[in-house]
């Protein structure tokens, strides 16, 4: 089974089949009947996880456009974890908010299949198709609560700007094809290496346009305008999913395109990334300080984290290599845990996501307050959490690659960001609850998912070597 040319497709097919099963289940569901549709998704994701584990070290390639190298498989692993945690959080939230389960799970799984495809794609055309599969599903998920006008607004904004950025990306592909005569990344890489010294304005243009497309999806400043609105308007559970999954997948493709295909032109694209990274870290952090809505605040925090990822991409030396993937993993579990808490604390007609809603949470829900604290501290980069190790390696890589300026900006913005993360913690522990009404009871599944996420944060924070090793070995397959 694992020797045919279809190998690399297997994880994707597992997820797509799960999505189709979710659709079919919804179609055959009687009126008012309950169905464990989420379970189908879990099965598909576990299958995808197992198959990617079996594909490890095999460097399988399918159709020449999809490569299951260790880099792609590592990101697939992150995405599978993101998917599983999201499904675990979802079951309760869906019922509470009246979100149609079949459609929700189907779209989520389709989106995940697009993300995995993006992580493994070795062809710009496939990257684009995968990007669209992922994005369209997420646009719809953002607006899946039709009873909330702000969700519709968020979805609409995200869609319009996303379509605009896709056009840039497509234009970039067209110019790349014009220069290289192919859309295969390995072939482009060879061609670029052969003529790296030639000053070709078309290559610069192609790289610039592709960069705009990717940066939009990772919400890098100044392409971040949609992020706060989309993150705030979407249901918290969807925000958690898209702030981690979309970012991880887009970043993986970004890294693959720029570190393997356009690597010979690094001298040309590095300054642009430098400026973008600095801007992103600064704007994300400084504007984040002023937010009073927790989702909006975390939106700016995730913008800032995109900046740290860019620093990792820029200083991709021996140290930095591992840091990129490790940071992605750490950020994914941490952010998902934070949004998970917000999601389970919400109510149907009330998001409960303003900062003041968290006053005195420690007194009413001590467990949730503790979990939230841990994930916020990890986002802020305090030891002994995953976020600390991630940032440590990113900045170490930046210093060793000679990007002192970026490292300084990174450390400074991290310190500032701790301020607004701690503000939430202070709210939870030291203030009394001003708003009437108790947050909802949390089910076992949601708590289990949170516990897993927190365990992962501590595991990555205290015993990072294994994952770091794995990350280092997997990223070396692309450059």
């Amino acid at each position: 089974m694992f020797n045919s040319s279809f190998d690399a497709v297997i994880p994707i097919v597992c997820v797509v089949l799960a999505a189709l099963a979710a659709m079919a289940a919804e179609a055959f569901r009687g009126k008012g009947e309950r169905m464990p549709i989420g379970l189908l998704g879990l099965v598909g994701l576990v299958a995808a996880g197992v198959s990617s584990a079996l594909l490890w070290n095999r460097n399988a390639a399918s159709f020449g456009v999809l490569v299951a190298d260790n880099f792609g498989l590592f990101v697939t692993g992150i995405l599978v974890v993101v998917g599983i945690l999201t499904i675990l959080f979802s079951s309760e939230v869906l019922e509470r908010d009246g979100i149609p389960a079949g459609e929700y799970y189907a779209l989520m799984l389709f989106s995940l299949s697009g993300m995995i495809m993006m992580a493994m794609a070795n062809d710009l055309l496939v990257v684009f198709v995968a990007l669209e599969i992922m994005s369209i599903a997420v646009y719809v998920l953002t607006g899946i609560r039709r009873d909330k006008p702000e969700a519709t607004e968020a979805s609409f904004k995200y869609f319009l700007l996303g379509a605009f950025s896709s056009a840039f990306f497509l234009y970039g592909i067209a110019f790349t094809f014009g220069v290289a005569g192919t859309t295969r990344l390995d072939a482009i890489g060879e061609l670029m290496a052969a003529q790296a010294m030639v000053d070709n304005p078309l290559v610069l243009l192609a790289m610039g346009l592709l960069m705009v497309g990717f940066c939009f999806k990772i919400s890098v400043v100044p392409f971040h305008m949609w992020t706060p609105d989309a993150y705030q308007g979407a249901p918290a559970i969807v925000t958690g999913f898209m702030s981690t999954g979309v970012k991880a997948a887009a970043f993986a493709a970004f890294a693959r395109v720029f570190l393997s295909a356009f690597e010979p032109y690094i001298a040309d694209w590095a300054p642009a990334i430098w400026v973008l990274a600095a801007l992103t870290m600064i704007v994300g952090t400084v504007v984040g300080v002023a937010q009073v809505n927790l989702k909006r605040m975390l939106a700016y925090s995730s913008i800032a984290h995109g900046g740290y990822l860019l620093v990792g991409l820029l200083s991709a030396n021996e140290v930095g290599k591992a840091a990129i993937l490790f940071y992605l993993a750490a950020y994914a579990v941490t952010n998902l845990a934070a949004f998970g808490v917000i999601a389970v604390l919400g109510a149907r007609d009330q998001g409960n996501d303003e900062l003041r809603d968290y006053a005195g949470l420690w007194h009413s829900r001590p467990a949730l307050a503790t979990l939230m604290t841990v994930s916020l501290l990890s986002l802020g980069g305090l030891p002994p959490t995953a976020g600390f190790i991630g940032k440590w390696y990113i900045f170490a890589a930046a210093v060793s690659a000679g990007y002192y300026g970026l490292a300084i900006i990174g450390v400074l913005t991290s310190v500032i960001s701790v301020f607004f993360y701690l503000r939430v913690v202070v709210m939870m522990f030291m203030k009394d609850r001003e708003v009437a009404g108790m947050p909802a009871q949390v089910s076992g599944l949601g708590m289990a998912a949170l516990a897993v996420a927190i365990a992962a944060i501590f595991y990555l924070g205290i015993l990072p070597t294994q994952v770091l090793d794995l990350a280092a070995r997997s990223i070396s397959t692309i450059f």
Partner: protein, 177 residues
């Protein structure tokens, strides 16, 4: 030479129609100009010895997608934008749109600089063999189901996602009847 002339004719038509699309106050006229632009593109494809692509362009874009556009415009009965009698009013009013206009101009300059300063493409553009064979329908089908097999199949997932999405956003739900 007539071929060059035809190229410039179609190119001018495509660019002119596209520029007029954004200048219209009546959405219906915009849609029609967009169709004209697509038609000109189809003409360019014919000049490139790709009749199949040209016809597909007409059938899919001009014939199917734009009819849906018209359908939506007619259903919404979108009024004319009377507020902006002056097509440049939007640019004059808001600071941010002005920035956008400047950026768009910059992109245009950049594109023309890059395209004009490049001398001959380095990439292998020669697809081997004569154009009529390469762009023939059987050959196109063969390439689609071999080299581009995966992208082709992935596109079917993409279309499915779009359909599910449309149903989710617009369909009737159990609890809303």
């Amino acid at each position: 030479m007539p071929e060059t002339l035809q190229f410039y004719l179609f190119a001018a038509l495509a660019i002119g129609a596209s520029a007029l699309v954004i200048g219209q106050r009546n959405p219906m006229h915009s849609v029609l100009l967009l169709i004209a632009s697509f038609g000109a593109l189809a003409g360019l494809y014919v000049l490139l010895d790709a009749p199949f692509v040209a016809v597909a362009q007409i059938i899919i874009y001009a014939g199917a997608i734009m009819v849906l556009f018209l359908f939506v415009v007619m259903l919404l009965n979108a009024p004319q934008e009377d507020a902006h009698k002056d097509p440049f009013a939007l640019v004059r009013q808001s600071g941010l749109t002005r920035v956008g206009a400047v950026l768009a101009l910059l992109l245009l300059l950049q594109l023309s600089w890059a395209l004009l300063s490049v001398s001959g493409l380095a990439g292998p553009v020669d697809a081997g063999g004569d154009a009529a064979v390469v762009s023939s329908v059987p050959e196109l089908g063969r390439v689609l189901f071999t080299d581009y097999m995966f992208a082709f199949e992935a596109t079917s997932v993409l279309i499915l996602v779009a359909m599910v999405g449309a149903v989710v956003l617009a369909g009737r739900r159990e609890n809303e009847e």
